[in-house]
Each structure stands twice: as C-alpha cells, then as structure tokens.
C-alpha cells in the first residue's frame, strides 16, 4: 500500500514537472561571467516575487551567451559588450533577431597586489603595460620587477572591452594586441587570486570583484587629467575612464515571461539589485 502511494507521488511530480516545461514557466539566461552574480541576484528576487516561474542563470562569457542565443539554447544572453556585426549576421542567418536592452554600467578595475607601491596609472601607461612595451614596474614608478600581465581568456567580454578601449583607445584601425606573454586565466576569480599572491602581477576585471586582497589602481585619461578611483559615483558621472554598459539580448521583442523579466530588471527593484551587486544602475 505504501508503495502505491510513493508511486502516485512520483507520477504526480513527473506530470507536474512535465507541465511546467510545457507552460514555458522557465527562462534560461546565459553569458557574461561579469554579470553572473547580477543575473543570479535578479533571478532569486524575481522567483521570490513570482512563485512558479523559474529562471536559470549560467556564465561562460559574453561570446558564449551570444552563440547560445543564436543556437537557441538560451532565452536571454547577458553581455558586457555590444554584439558584433559578425554575430548579428550569423544570427540573421539562423532566423534570430538580437534585441538589445541596456540594464546597467560596470567600471573595470585594474588591480595589483596591495604590496605593490604603484597606485595610479594613465590609460597610455596601461596600454603600454598590457601590450608589453612597458615590461618592468620600475618604468611606472614601482620596484625593479618584471611585470606579470594577467588577462581573461578570449571568450570574455571583459577581454574584448579592455582590448578595444584601453589597448586600442577606441581606435577601430588600431592593431594593438595583448602581449603574447600575457597569462590567460579562465575567470575573474583566478585573476583576483593570482594578484593577491603575486606582487608583480597586474590584472583587470569588473569592479564588483575587488576586495581587500587586491588594490584598485587610480586611472587617468592622460597625464594632465585627474586620477580617478573605480567607484560607483565616478562611473555614473562618467569620470572614471574605463567603464562599459551591460546588456541583455533577447530574440526579437521579448514576450511573455521573458518580457516580464526584462521589465523587472529595469524596474526600481531590479536596479536596486544592480546597485547591491556593485554595478551602476542606468535609471
């Protein structure tokens, strides 16, 4: 008898989950590693307010998000960079129509070990360091130590953004690249750990990841400008030179649950979550 009950219960759960899948009560969100924490915080808040809907968030990098949106394995792609021409063309080919929603801003912090005496750099110096032209800390006022460059892998929106806006200084014709000797690490956390343990290392990532074990460098646009710290007020006012927009991409105008979720991210509550996860709200 008891066995029967178990069986019925199991069958019930089965049908319930089958129905859930059919009703499309779930959204898959994928993409930027920078935005994973933000996405997860949104998902938790949203599911709390709307019981019965299910939002799953995974990372992998902005590029990964776009390729899943194009291949239809996610509903929303998170991205810390604009979609590329080539990705739009590929999406159109597959019948996907990327729709961009700007949901926040992020300051990119350049970090070194707290034991490193260098605490401010210009964009020009940063470009020099990350392309390998400046290879010793002495050249920028530090100790006589070879600079260890840490970068994210090429699947990271942060990597692409940093290359285009710092190394190439927004010049589309520039051919600057990361130094071939730059270490490519697979996550922001790996960079944070290496910087914390290595006085010669320099890395970059979203300012939400900075903690007491790393020191954020003050950055100036050029020699004559003010050196600015990567803080929320400086990013919002546009004073901090390395900041970028954060996007959600959907396939066409969002509908149903996807549209509700997108509206939620832009609502007062959603933007509070942005602030709480150390990013900068757009509204």
């Amino acid at each position: 008898m008891r066995r029967n009950w178990l069986f019925i219960l199991a069958a019930f759960i089965f049908t319930a989950s089958a129905f859930a899948a059919k009703d499309k009560n779930s959204i898959q969100i994928k993409g930027s590693d920078t935005m994973v924490n933000l996405g997860q915080a949104w998902a938790e808040k949203y599911m709390q307010d709307n019981p019965g809907s299910f939002v799953a968030v995974t990372g992998g990098g902005s590029g990964t998000g776009f390729s899943s949106l194009i291949s239809g394995t996610c509903d929303i792609a998170m991205s810390s960079r604009n979609i590329k021409e080539r990705e739009i063309a590929l999406a159109k080919q597959k019948g996907v129509n990327p729709n961009e929603i700007k949901v926040g801003l992020d300051g990119l912090a350049v970090v070194v070990s707290p034991r490193n005496p260098v605490s401010k750099l210009t964009i020009e110096q940063l470009a020099g360091i990350f392309t390998g032209r400046i290879s010793n800390w002495e050249e920028v006022g530090g100790k006589d130590e070879k600079i260890v460059i840490l970068s994210r892998e090429v699947n990271s929106g942060t990597h692409v953004y940093f290359k285009e806006h710092v190394l190439r200084k927004n010049d589309p014709d520039s051919k600057e690249e990361f130094a071939a000797g730059a270490l490519m690490l697979s996550s922001s956390q790996a960079i944070a750990d290496e910087v914390a343990n290595n006085t010669a290392a320099i890395g970059y990532y979203g300012m939400g990841y900075v903690c007491a074990r790393q020191k954020a460098i003050l950055v100036a646009k050029d020699k004559n400008s003010e050196y600015i710290a990567p803080l929320i007020e400086n990013v919002r006012s546009g004073k901090y030179p390395i900041s970028r927009p954060l996007f959600l991409y959907t396939n066409g105008q969002p509908q149903g649950l996807i549209s509700k979720f997108a509206d939620f991210t832009l609502s007062k509550e959603g933007q509070d979550v942005v602030l709480a996860t150390d990013f900068v709200p757009v509204k």
Partner: protein, 287 residues
C-alpha cells in the same frame, strides 16, 4: 536453432568490433571536414608555423607554432621526469620488491591513475605553483615546468604498469642463465632483463607520453596559457589542448576561429595517432 543463435552472436560481436573502428573513422572525417575549412583563409604553412595566435582580432591571426611548442615542451618535461622514475619503479616492482611491498606499490600506482586530472590540477595550483615560483625566483609560478611535473604524475601509472608487465614477461631462463654465469643481480637487470624487455618498455613510455599530450584540464589550470613562443621551461606556455578547451565556448559556429580550433584538433589527433602507432610497432616487435 543452435547454429542460428551462434550465427547471430557471432555477427553481433563482429558489429561491436567494427563499430569502434567506424566511430574513429567518423570522428576523424568530421574533424577533417571542419578543420580543413580553415585553410580557405590561412595557408597550411602559415597555420603551422605562424608565431601569433590572436583568433578574435580582425583579421584573425591563426599561427599555432607557439601552441605546438608549448605542448611539446610540457610533454618533453613530463617525459624527462616520468620515464626514469617510472621505469625505475617498474624494475623495483618486477625484480627487487618482496611480495608484500609489491602488492602495496601496485595498488598505490593504480590509485594514482584514479585521481581525476582536474583534482591534480587543483592540487598543483595551490601547492606546486607557489613552490616553483619561490624556488626559481620567477615572476610567476604558472609555467611549463609546473605543468610537466603534474603531468609526470599522470604518465607514471601507465609507464609503470606496462613496463612492469614487459619485465615480468621476459622468459625466466634468461635470468637463470645470467645468474648461472655468475652475474650479480644488478648486472642481470641492466644487461639481460632491460634489453630483453626494451620494446615493451619503449611502448610503455610512448603510451605514457600519449596520455600526457592529450591532457587538458590540469595543464590549463597551471601552465599560464600565454600564447608566446616559449623561451624556456620556466616560462608560461599555452598548449594545443588548453586552447581548444578555453576557446570553444566563444567560437561562433562557422567562423574562422571555429574551423581553426578543429584544425588544432586534427593536429592533436595526428600527434597522438603517431605516438600510438609507434608504441604499437614496438609492442609487435616484441612478439
């Protein structure tokens, strides 16, 4: 009826046997089909001997020489470490160790083979990397040497168990003959046993190296992944396997980058195929 049953079973087994070859052939064809497409945009010479790997630039630079050298450097380092230790261990187990010690050692080596590579990589990252950094006074411990040491651990079980097997299968009368002629134990091992088992030991070494060159997770975690031409074993390197694993998520299906990753797969496949064939040749020479 019995004959019919026999017939069916025979054919089923035949299909199983052929299936594995079929799968390998299909995988290779797929690799070739996707990989060769990269040569529409870059010449084979430039692909294999180009010195810069910037796959997402416009236009992409797809030279995999630093990656090939990175893989070879890590593998060579691992071979230098694991071959003497592995073969020495096999000699000890096969020839010298008392029965009890032998059992314990064999179990231990099997245990070493059972450690997942990601766990080895993680252990290497927190213990070996800082150690290498401080011993050699390097700017960073994420180097080819760290990768080599960790991979040596992975090659060792293969080398030890196959080499031990080869030593064990040397006919007993060789050894008895050597002893009868008044040779010491060491002379017997060095002059008689090792030459007699040499083809099997070489096969063991080749299979161990084959395991190392295809390893991905551990090297990705501890070699630093810098796609520069490696200057020394104390510099960070990027291997072929780590490149595929790190970049496959980004590569848009049908882009040059995607095809280039498959072409790297072809290069890897050819490398490990060559190693396995060599090992096979040695093994057959023995029989």
């Amino acid at each position: 009826m019995r004959k019919f049953k026999e017939f069916i079973i025979e054919k089923l087994i035949l299909i199983c046997g052929l299936a594995s070859i079929l799968f390998v052939a299909l995988i290779f064809l797929f690799l070739l089909k996707e990989g060769l497409a990269v040569f529409k945009t870059v010449s084979p010479f430039k692909f294999l001997f180009g010195k810069s790997w910037y796959p997402i630039s416009e236009p992409p630079q797809l030279g995999i020489l630093p990656l090939i050298l990175g893989s070879l450097l890590v593998t060579a380092g691992a071979a230098i470490i694991s071959i003497p230790i592995g073969v020495g261990c096999a000699i000890y187990i096969a020839e010298i160790a008392p029965l009890k010690v032998k059992e314990v050692l064999k179990a231990g080596i099997e245990l070493l083979a059972a450690i997942p590579s990601v766990v080895l990589g993680f252990i290497g990252m927190v213990t070996l990397v800082p150690l290498v950094k401080s011993i050699f006074h390097l700017p960073t411990g994420l180097t080819a040497l760290s990768g080599s040491i960790m991979l040596a651990f992975m090659a060792m079980p293969t080398i030890v168990s196959i080499a031990e097997d080869a030593l064990y299968s040397v006919p007993k009368n060789y050894k008895e003959g050597a002893f009868a002629l008044g040779a010491t134990h060491w002379q017997t091992i060095w002059r008689v046993m090792l030459p007699a088992a040499s083809s099997g030991i070489l096969a063991a070494v080749m299979l161990g190296i084959g395991r190392v060159i295809g390893e991905t997770m551990a090297v990705m975690m501890i070699t630093g992944n810098a796609a520069a031409m490696p200057q020394s074993i104390l510099a960070p390197v990027r291997t072929l396997t780590a490149t595929i694993a790190a970049e496959m998520g980004e590569a848009v299906v049908g882009s040059e980058h995607y095809f280039a990753l498959f072409a790297i797969g072809v290069v890897l496949f050819i490398m490990s195929f060559a190693i396995n064939v060599t090992a096979d040749l040695f093994l057959h020479k023995r029989q």
